[in-house]
């Protein structure tokens, strides 16, 4: 199908460069100059992808990005299941993010667990004019009254809070005191802060540091008996159960997972994390901050890992094991060997159906690089990728460990650019979000949502890879894509013929 297969890398690079020039032509000069810095063709051997990142989005271009509130409430804090997260401000932010991220958990919702609920201060005009602090205090009282088994409260600030000068820290402190030291966390994640979700992650990490860690006595004994094999999973949001299909592997190799951050996580797990011997970090982007802090303050090393696809899983299991003794190293080998037959069977079944297929990605967090190995395990090739809210350290990791020479790189891609890139490159699959899904499906291009796993998952771990492989197959090889063109209107497409 795709052009990339029959072309040499030189041709691919030339075509990609031409494509970048072409999309930039449509922008007004000022915007073109700014966007040019975010688009590039990867050159092998370079230490990063040669794009600027973590800069302001340009007004009016249809960025795919969200905001700091989305990064804090939607990503970091929202999944902590035994705390109540107040969307503080007008009703919309909490409404649109209500239960939309598939952070799976076990618990009695509304009684001791609150993830898939929408708690909001539903700001009205009078709250904007007179301030919302009194209302916030009353909300906390009402929460205590109606949800007595909540183990803590967070205040997730929406845009107006920082603009009207509310003092949510004072309210939180006062109420914490009133409720016997209850954990109440004010989070300054107003949506206008920063340039994307990313600052929201950072602010949320800092809030854990300041309002959870700084309240606990680091020398106090753990609630459980400590072992030398205690680790914490950091940066897994348990989307479709990802953290569970990861945890099971760590436990099988002999480690003990004392905390999940934050999918299916609890306040007790956050508080216990300083007791970990190693923090294993999946989503570097959203939780490197707290990992670094724990390293500095508590001396806990951290290690990035990648649980997408058998190659990266095995590499990661060995890397994690290298922090421990032979028992764990043997455990890692045992786990790899145990799942090898399953992986062989999955690859035998799906690789022949997917071999040589090309993929273009545009996602957030870790996925624009982390999933590349899983595609390669299936014989597929990622020909374009980019980050919604990545920083330069993400692009460094991408360049050094993941992408191939000539890959098209697009940071904070705009709707226009993405559509043009896909139209020209004609990949066999696009992996991005809900806002992109239907655009590309209309174009007849198979698509998988790579934020929510398109309501499937888990994709992490060995169990998850089987689902990943099946899902990619069913997207690409669905018979419907052969029917997108109206037969009596079908025009010969020379590029396609050349590529067959």
């Amino acid at each position: 199908m795709s052009l990339a297969k029959t072309e040499g890398v030189g041709e691919v690079k030339a075509r990609n460069k031409e494509l970048i020039e072409e999309v930039l032509k449509v922008y007004p000069a000022k915007a073109a100059k700014r966007r040019a810095k975010h688009l590039n063709v990867h050159e092998e051997g370079k230490s990063d992808c040669g794009v600027k990142s973590n800069l302001k989005s340009i007004p009016g271009v249809m960025t795919i990005r969200g905001c700091a509130y989305a990064g804090s409430k939607g990503v970091v804090w929202g999944p902590i299941k035994d705390m109540i997260h107040i969307s503080h401000g007008p009703v919309g932010c909490g409404q649109y993010s209500w239960a939309a991220r598939r952070n799976y958990y076990i618990g009695t919702t509304g009684i001791d667990t609150f993830v898939t609920m929408q708690f909001t201060s539903d700001f009205q005009e009078k709250d904007i004019v007179f301030g919302g602090d009194k209302k916030l205090a009353k909300i906390m009282d009402e929460i205590q009254d109606l949800f007595p088994l909540n183990n803590g409260i967070t205040v997730q600030s929406e845009c107006p809070i920082g603009l009207i000068g509310d003092d949510i820290e004072a309210v939180s402190k006062q109420k914490s005191k009133q409720y016997e030291g209850k954990t109440i966390v004010p989070v300054r994640c107003e949506g206008f802060r920063g340039v994307s979700q990313s600052l929201g992650h950072h602010i949320a990490n800092d809030a854990v540091r300041d309002w959870v860690f700084d309240k606990i006595d680091p020398d106090a004994p753990a609630r459980f008996e400590e072992t030398p094999y205690d680790v914490a999973i950091i940066g897994d949001y348990n989307i479709g159960g990802d953290a569970w299909s990861s945890r099971i592997l760590l436990e099988e190799m002999g480690l003990r997972v004392i905390a999940q951050w934050s999918g299916d996580g609890t306040l007790a797990e956050l508080e216990a994390t300083p007791k970990a011997k190693l923090n294993v970090l999946h989503c570097y982007r959203s939780m490197n901050y707290i990992s670094r802090h724990m390293e500095e303050k508590y001396g806990i090393p951290w290690c990035e890992y990648n649980f997408f696809g058998p190659s990266k899983i095995a590499e990661s299991l060995r890397k994690i094991a290298s922090f421990f003794d032979d028992k764990i190293k043997e455990g890692a080998e045992r786990v790899i060997a145990k799942y090898q037959p399953l992986m062989d069977a999955v690859i035998a079944r799906y690789r022949p159906r997917l071999e040589g297929k090309t993929v273009m990605l545009f996602v957030g967090g870790l996925r624009p690089r982390h999933v590349i190995g899983a595609y390669e395990d299936l014989g597929m090739e990622v020909v374009g990728t980019g980050y919604e809210f990545g920083h330069n350290d993400d692009y460094q990791r991408t360049a050094q460990h993941y992408v191939k020479d000539g890959t098209l790189i697009y940071d904070d891609v705009t709707g226009y650019e993405f559509e043009k890139f896909v139209e020209k490159i004609q990949p066999d699959l696009v992996g991005s979000g809900i806002k992109e899904k239907y655009v590309f499906q209309k174009m007849g291009v198979p698509f998988r949502q790579m934020h929510s796993w398109d309501y499937s998952g888990p994709y992490h771990g060995y169990d998850g890879f089987a689902i990943f492989a099946r899902d990619m197959d069913m997207a690409i090889n669905s018979p419907i894509w052969k029917m997108a063109q109206t037969p009596w209107k079908r025009k010969p497409v020379p590029t396609m013929i050349a590529a067959e």
């Binding site: 922008y27 915007a31 340009i58 007004p59 009016g60 271009v61 249809m62 960025t63 990005r65 969200g66 401000g89 007008p90 009703v91 919309g92 409404q95 799976y104 076990i106 009695t108 509304g110 009684i111 001791d112 609920m117 909001t120 201060s121 539903d122 700001f123 005009e125 709250d127 904007i128 209302k135 009353k138 009402e142 109606l146 088994l149 183990n151 845009c159 920082g162 206008f192 979700q197 609630r223 159960g241 945890r247 436990e251 004392i258 299916d264 797990e269 216990a272 399953l342 069977a345 079944r349 709707g415 806002k435 239907y438 209309k442 499937s456 169990d463 089987a466 689902i467 099946r470 063109q485």
Partner: protein, 519 residues
């Protein structure tokens, strides 16, 4: 190991295997610091009581699981009902990501919309530069025929002046001077998404009729025989608009649908992505001033728009999301009165078929109790239909309902013997509804997707009618207006009733004597 390459287990099954169950049980016990299960059970039971309900209804500050969204969502929905129009929301960019996702999750369609991407510096200095650059970029990239501007709460709190900003942007040649950039201030802390729809539509109408923000002459109304139709914020817009057009064509009514997003939310998959499709042409939007009258299908979506139209000399009429025989009769007779057109025999036959269907099925609905929540007009329309079916709309709740709305619902209830034991709840949320479903149970719940949590917790079967419906596909393609639309609503309700009867009568050798093949 539970996973299997030949029969890949999804999350539905995977985690129910013993390995995962043991792992999760151990996690809870060792690390989660859980409450005593007996205590959890006690609180769970307590939350079902009258005592809890009273506490719950005494809430003054906290909102839990509201059934409403914020203004700009409605503004975006309205904007895409016009030909070649891209909504431009001035303020923080995350909001736009949310509106687009929300609409895409409901319609399973692309939702195009841009933001002026304001950040901290704009919060301090105002968002003028964002407007100037943003309009230019949008205009060049997406080649719209019109850019409809609305606001997020951020821009509203800092007090950005859209009219002045757009003027300045035009002076700086972001877009040509004559290019249409209607605008509406849509603060999220006032009203809800239906208010945003109203404000945006009013903004567009005023733009075209009243001299385009002082840049051209105001239009002079030269009355003709057409009528304007406004649907309001409607999750069934795709099915409804087509049904309404069919009805008007049957009646021979010349009409303009103001804000018709039925095509843009239902584009074909044929190899081409259509960012714009269908919609009210800008010419029609302007010429709509000459119409004889304007009909709004949803009063609470057009509270500000209709007075503007009326002030231009048109007769206006509004309905409350009419569903059912009498409500559709009233709608059609009003159309007939306004246009002088006869209601054709074809529609009389459709009416007769709906009456026939209700007569056939009445025994299964009569006396059943329903809880309804949703937007104010939808609640009124469904409640009226249920009363007509001999059912009781026991709880009627709109988080975005006003006191005036509650009074209107009460009048409706008072008009029917089936409404005597029914109550209306304005400004309440789905956590209030949860208490009601425990303390004063009903047979069925009608609401949007979020109602599934109520269904799970209270055991009240959910009939999905409303917005958003994320977890069922293609409902938006079916009309719920007109006699045929009402028929769809009737069938949807009946299907759930019959499914429940079967579900409750299917235990072999226990209850299956009632597992009848004929109902």
């Amino acid at each position: 190991m539970t996973q299997n390459a030949d029969n890949v287990l999804d999350h539905f099954e995977l985690f129910r295997g013993p390995e995962y169950q043991q792992m999760l049980e151990a996690k809870k016990k060792m690390f989660e610091n859980p409450h005593d299960p007996a205590e959890v059970e006690r609180v769970r039971e307590w939350a079902k009581t009258e005592e809890y309900k009273e506490k719950n209804f005494a809430r003054e500050a906290l909102t839990v699981n509201p059934a409403k969204a914020c203004q700009p969502l409605g503004a975006v929905f309205a904007a895409v009902g016009f030909e070649g129009t891209i909504p431009f929301v001035h303020g923080s960019q995350g909001c736009v990501a949310y509106y687009r996702s929300h609409l895409s999750r409901h319609f399973k369609e692309p939702s195009s919309c841009v933001s002026s991407s304001m950040t901290e510096d704009a919060a301090v200095f105002g968002g003028l530069n964002n407007m100037v650059d943003g309009l230019a970029n949008t205009y060049n990239l997406y080649k719209p025929k019109m850019i409809a501007v609305s606001t997020t709460c951020m821009a509203e709190v800092i007090g950005d002046d859209l009219n002045a900003f757009i003027k300045t942007a035009k002076e700086k040649e972001s877009v040509p001077a004559e290019f249409d950039v209607p605008f509406a201030h849509t603060p999220a802390f006032v009203g809800s998404h239906v208010t945003g729809y109203d404000n945006a539509l009013k903004g567009i109408i005023e733009h075209f009729w009243d001299g385009k923000a002082g840049t051209t002459e105001k239009l002079e109304r030269k009355p003709n025989d057409t009528i304007n139709f406004i649907g309001g914020f409607d999750g069934y817009t795709v099915g409804n608009m087509r049904e309404i057009r069919r009805i008007f064509d049957l009646m021979g009514v010349e009409h303009t649908i103001l804000c018709d997003n039925s095509d843009v939310f239902d584009t074909p998959t044929d190899g081409e992505f259509r960012m714009y499709d269908g919609g009210t042409t800008l010419e029609d939007a302007a010429n709509a001033i000459h119409a004889k009258a304007t009909i709004s299908m949803q009063q609470y979506c057009t509270e500000k728009t209709l007075p503007v139209i009326k002030a231009h000399g048109q007769e206006v009429a509004s309905f409350n999301h009419p569903v059912g025989v009498a409500s559709t009769d009233a709608f059609l007779m009003e159309v007939a009165r306004l246009t002088g057109k006869e209601i054709p025999e074809e529609l009389a036959r459709e009416r007769g078929r709906l009456v026939d269907a209700i007569a056939d099925s009445s025994a299964h609905i009569h006396g059943k109790k329903f809880a309804i929540y949703g937007d104010p007009d939808l609640c009124l329309g469904l409640a009226a239909f249920l009363l007509e079916l001999g059912a009781e709309p026991t709880h009627i709740l709109a988080t975005n309902g006003t006191k005036g709305w509650a009074k209107q619902v009460q009048e409706l209830l008072d008009s029917s013997p089936f409404g005597q034991d029914c109550h209306v709840y304005a400004g309440k949320d789905l956590w209030h509804m949860r208490s009601l479903l425990f303390t004063e149970p009903v047979d069925f719940l009608i609401g949007n997707t979020y109602g599934k949590y109520l269904e799970r917790d209270t055991g009240t079967p959910l009939i999905r009618i409303g917005f958003p419906v994320f977890d069922r596909h293609h409902h938006h393609r079916r009309p719920v207006w007109g006699y045929q639309g009402s028929m769809n609503v009737l069938i949807t309700i009946l299907d759930k009733i019959f499914d429940e009867i079967d579900r409750n009568t299917n235990v072999p050798a226990k209850t299956d004597y009632s597992f009848d093949i004929i109902r």
